[in-house]
Point group: C5
Chain length 357, copies 5
Amino acid sequence: MRRTKKLFRTRASKEGLPPGSLIHIGEAPADAVSVSIFSYGEQGLQETCSETVDLSLIRPKPDGVVWVDLEGVHQVETVRSLGEAYNLHPLVLEDIVSTVQRPKVEDYDDYLFVVVKMLLPLPDGDFAAEQLSLVLGRGYVLTFQEGIRGDAFEPVRERIRSAKGKIRTLGADYLLYTLLDAVVDRYFTVLEGFGERLVNIEEEVAMHPHPRTLVQLNDLKKEVIYLRKSTWPLREVLSFLERDDTDLICDATRLFLRDVHDHAVQTIDTVETFRDLLSGMLDLYLSSLSNRTNEIMKFLTIIGTIFIPLTFVVGLYGMNFKYMPELEWHYGYFAVLGLMVAMTVGMIFYFKHRKWL
Amino acid sequence: MRRTKKLFRTRASKEGLPPGSLIHIGEAPADAVSVSIFSYGEQGLQETCSETVDLSLIRPKPDGVVWVDLEGVHQVETVRSLGEAYNLHPLVLEDIVSTVQRPKVEDYDDYLFVVVKMLLPLPDGDFAAEQLSLVLGRGYVLTFQEGIRGDAFEPVRERIRSAKGKIRTLGADYLLYTLLDAVVDRYFTVLEGFGERLVNIEEEVAMHPHPRTLVQLNDLKKEVIYLRKSTWPLREVLSFLERDDTDLICDATRLFLRDVHDHAVQTIDTVETFRDLLSGMLDLYLSSLSNRTNEIMKFLTIIGTIFIPLTFVVGLYGMNFKYMPELEWHYGYFAVLGLMVAMTVGMIFYFKHRKWL
Amino acid sequence: MRRTKKLFRTRASKEGLPPGSLIHIGEAPADAVSVSIFSYGEQGLQETCSETVDLSLIRPKPDGVVWVDLEGVHQVETVRSLGEAYNLHPLVLEDIVSTVQRPKVEDYDDYLFVVVKMLLPLPDGDFAAEQLSLVLGRGYVLTFQEGIRGDAFEPVRERIRSAKGKIRTLGADYLLYTLLDAVVDRYFTVLEGFGERLVNIEEEVAMHPHPRTLVQLNDLKKEVIYLRKSTWPLREVLSFLERDDTDLICDATRLFLRDVHDHAVQTIDTVETFRDLLSGMLDLYLSSLSNRTNEIMKFLTIIGTIFIPLTFVVGLYGMNFKYMPELEWHYGYFAVLGLMVAMTVGMIFYFKHRKWL
Amino acid sequence: MRRTKKLFRTRASKEGLPPGSLIHIGEAPADAVSVSIFSYGEQGLQETCSETVDLSLIRPKPDGVVWVDLEGVHQVETVRSLGEAYNLHPLVLEDIVSTVQRPKVEDYDDYLFVVVKMLLPLPDGDFAAEQLSLVLGRGYVLTFQEGIRGDAFEPVRERIRSAKGKIRTLGADYLLYTLLDAVVDRYFTVLEGFGERLVNIEEEVAMHPHPRTLVQLNDLKKEVIYLRKSTWPLREVLSFLERDDTDLICDATRLFLRDVHDHAVQTIDTVETFRDLLSGMLDLYLSSLSNRTNEIMKFLTIIGTIFIPLTFVVGLYGMNFKYMPELEWHYGYFAVLGLMVAMTVGMIFYFKHRKWL
Amino acid sequence: MRRTKKLFRTRASKEGLPPGSLIHIGEAPADAVSVSIFSYGEQGLQETCSETVDLSLIRPKPDGVVWVDLEGVHQVETVRSLGEAYNLHPLVLEDIVSTVQRPKVEDYDDYLFVVVKMLLPLPDGDFAAEQLSLVLGRGYVLTFQEGIRGDAFEPVRERIRSAKGKIRTLGADYLLYTLLDAVVDRYFTVLEGFGERLVNIEEEVAMHPHPRTLVQLNDLKKEVIYLRKSTWPLREVLSFLERDDTDLICDATRLFLRDVHDHAVQTIDTVETFRDLLSGMLDLYLSSLSNRTNEIMKFLTIIGTIFIPLTFVVGLYGMNFKYMPELEWHYGYFAVLGLMVAMTVGMIFYFKHRKWL
């Protein structure tokens, strides 16, 4: 049931509100939000992490990049203050705190607004999903994470801290690429876990179909629906970023975005394959069930067909007629036993002939 | 049945009439129509509400906006007089009173004509639907509601009255946006209710399939068909408004219309998810049913297979042959009882082996 | 079977003939054809009706319109003489008499050639279909009706005669629009009838599935296939007329054609809805059937499971062993009766527990 | 099985060969090929037919047309010599002798290369198919037929010989049109035969489903797959010819090609209808089968439910207890008979109530 | 299960790594890699083969072509050194060693990067698949094969060595074409093998459906999914190469690439046909199963319906009532035997009438 609900959380509770109303939609954890700011350039890195936004740190230095990362969007005041500091459109802020957005990208001339779904693999092969909003401006990237359960960005932070690779020498657009790449990479981990579950259930389906198996298949199907809803628009987002002629993204970075776009297409490919496999498994399940019913019917028919005539015969000689010549014969009993053995053997040959045995 | 009919009300009764004939198509309630006029600008607001159109009020003041809202289109004379006052094309008036239109938008240079379906959630999770026609001209918006059962516009009226937000300072195009936004917001409430019903029926389907469940699933399916018919063209309408270069809509408003367009895409997404879920439930229903038949068959087979041979044995010794040596044995009866216990135990082991028990 | 054949009448009999061969394809009624000519303008109307074409009447007067309407195309000579009088291309004439055309429009510079299917509702909710070819030239419209069973044009004729509306003051393109509008309006009547039949069959499907119901569903499905084949290309035809830049159609008329185009989209919408409904009914039918089989199985299982063990018990005490102590007990019979009542009650509780009762 | 193989003959045997290798792929009949040459113009006609190509005849005269028709492409030397004489690209020759091409058209500037499938109706309603390659150059048309079993061109030859119609006065592009028209006309004959078979099988499916029927349906389905593979690309070919701006085809001929294009669309339409009908028949088949199983179950249940309790009753009074009061009653036997009649009547009423009888 | 896994190998293990990280993804055989270099021109050929890259050989001579072929990409150092020698982008190298790419083509101005799947037919009709990356630069082609199990290029090498055909006189683009042609030709061999397996299983499906058959069908379906995933993007690759205006490919070669494109379309056509056939077989399987269940039910019903009433009759006269007149009749026994024969004959006639026999 939980899985079904996940598929259609909507913004129904906002009915009647004027546009730009900052109402958080989604699960609201009690925990406090956390704001981490990375301000770096070729020369150095300044990293802070607190529960509020220190507005003095958010202006990018010349040739430097500022990355403001907010974990937890349920505290709308923090979002509003960030939005005002960077002069974001009210509709952008509204979308950030409403965590039921479809992945999309919007060009506001001065900045790009990107929404994607971030998947988090859970230990049991299942996955959680949360909304990630990104804003790419001149010299800065803002990321708004729905949840506070951790993210996919630790390797990126590590690379910035250790100045590994070229990340410290490149601009905000490259940071955006790196973050999106990290998000998409997570998809593969989730898909791998999903695939394992599919393989595990497959033998059960073919060999021992059970009502429980059907419910599991149905659950997997719902997760595939969710994955489709997340990945198809993601591809559009990345194809927009790769192609669009906004000057916020330089050509060298576009090459890298093409790579992420490619990965997004791969995830779609994999999700579609899962879908085909699942639909094949449902067919397999139904056929296995039919096979079993068929087998059971066959068994019942064989037993019934052998014993019903025999029972008739013994009933026949159980009748109490005064004059029944066979009953008087000395070997009548054995003759009837012989007759019944012959009938049984005949039946068995018939079943062999029909390939029922 | 009612639901089936809702899906294909047509304009058949207009056959043979010349174009522009004002014939009301739809349910015609006995109640009188009501016309409310909002004439507002930055300075003030004039609000009237009556059963007829006061033509002296419908001219917009410079920099002001007039919103004429007609509830109930079955009184065609009122529509005609409004149409003449605003110089609308006869085909527009014909479409307004014929409440079987598909959502669409038409550009008549001087004004835009928009038709959408307005959904009204009912207490039981179901929903009613009525046609809403909107005309956007220079300085005015006309809205024609099919029914008189209430609408989605109360928050908008409240905002105009209280001058909350920027609505009083902006033009007629912003009013059009606000109204469409209110309509689309209602969709989310309806979809949420629909989703609840889906979740409720899901357990019944998987665990206790019943013919009644099937009829309910079929009803839900029809409603999804209706929702699809309403939402897909709605998206086209909004995408037209967002992109078209008519000068009736200014660029700032287009940003807001993009937001509504986005919401429309979300509703489609949700409706398509419902469709997938429903089709999955139908499969689940059939599989559950097969499972149950299989289980019943298995039970019958086990009972039959155990008792049919036993019945044969007792019949055997019920025969009346004169010479049946076993009958004479003192412990013959108990030997047969023992034999039957052995047969039963053997069968049970066999069933365990076949995993039928 | 008749319905199946209707779906694939082809032009196979024309194999090997040179292009432009006037061979009538279709049912050839014995009756004579009828040619009616309306020659009208703002000033007046001249109407004639005969079995042959009076060539002196077919030239349009300046600012006047001539409408030549031929009912019955099986008499190819009449078609040929009209074709020569108006200088039509041989391929056009060939298509007119071959009544297996797909709806289409072709631009021959001097005239437009349009083929559509005209539906005629029959009393039992079914419908007949015939081919209607229209030629729009400068100042004239030719219509070629396949059959002579009547048409959808009576209201148009009436409007021309009574000079009602603007029809007498407008050109041939407006006449073309009026005729197409009349044809499309008929579709709604046919669709309404079809919808009624769907609603009628729906309860039967859900409650009392019967082999006959299945055949009816299959017949309805074939009619939906036919309706789809007629309506989808019709939309293309109207969208072509609405958009094309031929100077045979003036801008004011294009507005009206947009309206018909709109109606054609509505018919497609309705046909697609019928298709979804029908496919849902087929599922419903199969599920109802499975439900019934399941129910019957359950009944048989309950009866069998209760009586098979009881029969075993009575058989047991019908054995003729010399020494069976129970038989000697005075209340043995009543003890066995009691045992059997207990078994039955136990079974019934078991069935209640399994929810089979 | 044969039908299955027909669907995927591939060019696998050419693996590893350089491009332009002339290897015949397909069935290679033992018979000799035949080359017929028509060289005609307004003035006259020269017709020859032999087993080899007489290269002196293949040059078109001014204002004349040469048509070289080769029946049987398994003799690759003949193809090569023709190819060299007309200076065709090696890839064209390779495609001509490899009879597993998909219908296509290729523009080589100096000539157009067209491949289509030619269908030949067989007496039993089935059809054979062979590849036809056409080359249209300036003043000449080459046709390469895969087989030697006859073709669809006899009427065309007759028209050239008798100078009927305008064929002798028009160019090579008109000849190409005439040939393609003859090929497409054959499709209708084949489709008509296919349709007849569908109609014949339909009653069997609905009324007397039999395993054999299923195999037949499956065979028909394979033929529809083949027809789809032949017709869809055929439409693309004709639409290319109708639209392309090669100067090898003049405008007057394009009008005729539009007509063939139209016919190709009709064949696709018909094939798609067949597909829908077949899929409907498969559903019908399965439903009929379910209906029959249901009916048989019902019968078994009725018989079983009536007799199982009766058998219990007679068994009851067959017990050998010493003290069974009923047995001593004088009319006990008749009382039991009466009881059993009452039980049977009750059951029958119950079945009537459940609508099983 | 193995087959299922093959379908969704992903790059999950690369999560968190910076772009351009050379991590081999795929099966890593223990064997050493092998590098073969062909440097040829019209004058001559130099061929070397070793385990490392001899960088002195990889520069193309003027008017000559260098083909560097690496078998085994698991040794990333070799890939890196080649990449550096030819100045390839880090993302290209990353894609080469990550063998889970989707077929694609990327234009890096100085060179084209192409990824396709190479299929290798296995003896049992099954096939293996490996990734092949190609780089086309000015005067050189690099090929990177995933595996070392052999390839499809032996005929190409032979043609270069023997200077057969025009390959030695043409540029690197022609070599690229030749290699892609060899890869696509292999597809046909694989498809032919797949087709054979389909034909083999078809009879089993229709005549002797067995649970094992179902598992085989499911396996075939997975392979079709894999083939689709390989062939559809392959077509895009070839259509890009045929159309793109990069100056790395000359016009003459484009004609040949159009031919390969054509073959790729043919493979897709064949794969889609396989898909249709397989889905038809699954239907056939289920229907056959239903047929068998139906047949078994019919048999049980006939046996049961004949003997259950007979058993009742013999039970009737086995009752021990004191007064049962029939029992006293001399020929009562024979009268009952006669009655039972009559009942049986009646039943058989009834079954004949219902067409159950």
